[in-house]
Subunit: 145 residues, 2 copies
DNA sequence: TATTGTTATACTCTATAACTATA
DNA sequence: TATAGTTATAGAGTATAACAATA
């Protein structure tokens, strides 16, 4: 039980959030660097990574949390690198389905490998902490999606 | 993230990391939106937020995880908005100390308020989970930085 | 009329390399 | 020589608004 100056001190949740926020800010650089090691700007790497199946521009822009007009440029550059193709949809001729080329698929595999490698801050925790974290994260943001 | 053969990594830490990574990617947009509500691009908001005391360009660029030449532009724009000043250092005439103006200090307070407000995914956890999260985060990335 | 995707525009962030003024 | 900061340059991501093709 916290007592005394509890009013001045933040709640546990608030402190957890501040710690996480600081980590997230530093993580942006971490992820950018990992992506650059693969030879891709991080947004392009993220977009390519999400192409698990042929995906309309529209849907991918939502998944990337960006405007469709922004994604046009991102996909232009991925296409110029030979990593994705815009294929016409059979059902709706307005829609273009984004599909990785064989080279894109290979790069996508490498991106997933990098992404799945746990961050040092997580990897260095005790096994008990890692299990607790997994369980809490499942409750916090594991359900939906 | 149900993905068939992409889930072959089975340690708790790896799953915790994947969950966290997904959250972080969505968080970028969350933070950008919060900053834009305050009328500032998110990098400028972050830089201003960090100005707890007069700070050399050099040091702030490290804290922002960006190149000094990048920070020059960011600070230019903060200065143009009237939020920061470049003041000469008394000890080293090469150094410029970044200091918020009164308007900048007011904006900084508002940014901190927004940043400190826990994200819904954290706030909706049980008190027990929030405390556990705080403790683990302290161990993971609370000390160093 | 509504939706999908693009273009035009303007701004911001990003790093590298070369430069200046100090130290 | 070395460091703090800027400038020049080139590239990339960002949203808004207007547009064409299609539904």
């Amino acid at each position: 039980m916290q007592r005394g100056d509890e009013r001045r001190v933040t709640t546990a949740g608030a402190e957890a959030w501040r710690l996480l926020f600081g980590f997230v800010m530093s993580l942006e650089g971490y992820w950018e660097e990992r992506a650059r090691e693969l030879g891709l700007p991080h947004v392009q790497a993220y977009a390519l990574m999400l192409l698990e199946e042929p995906t309309p521009m529209n849907r991918l822009s939502t998944m990337c949390h960006c405007d469709p007009s922004t994604l046009t440029g991102v996909v232009d550059r991925l296409e110029a690198r030979g990593y994705v193709e815009r294929r016409p949809s059979a059902v709706d001729r307005r829609v273009k389905l984004l599909t990785p080329t064989p080279e894109g698929e290979e790069m996508r595999r490498r991106i997933l490998q990098v992404v799945h490698e746990p961050h040092p801050a997580i990897a260095s925790l005790s096994g008990e902490d890692q299990r607790a974290l997994r369980d809490i994260f499942r409750r916090a943001f594991g359900e939906r999606d």
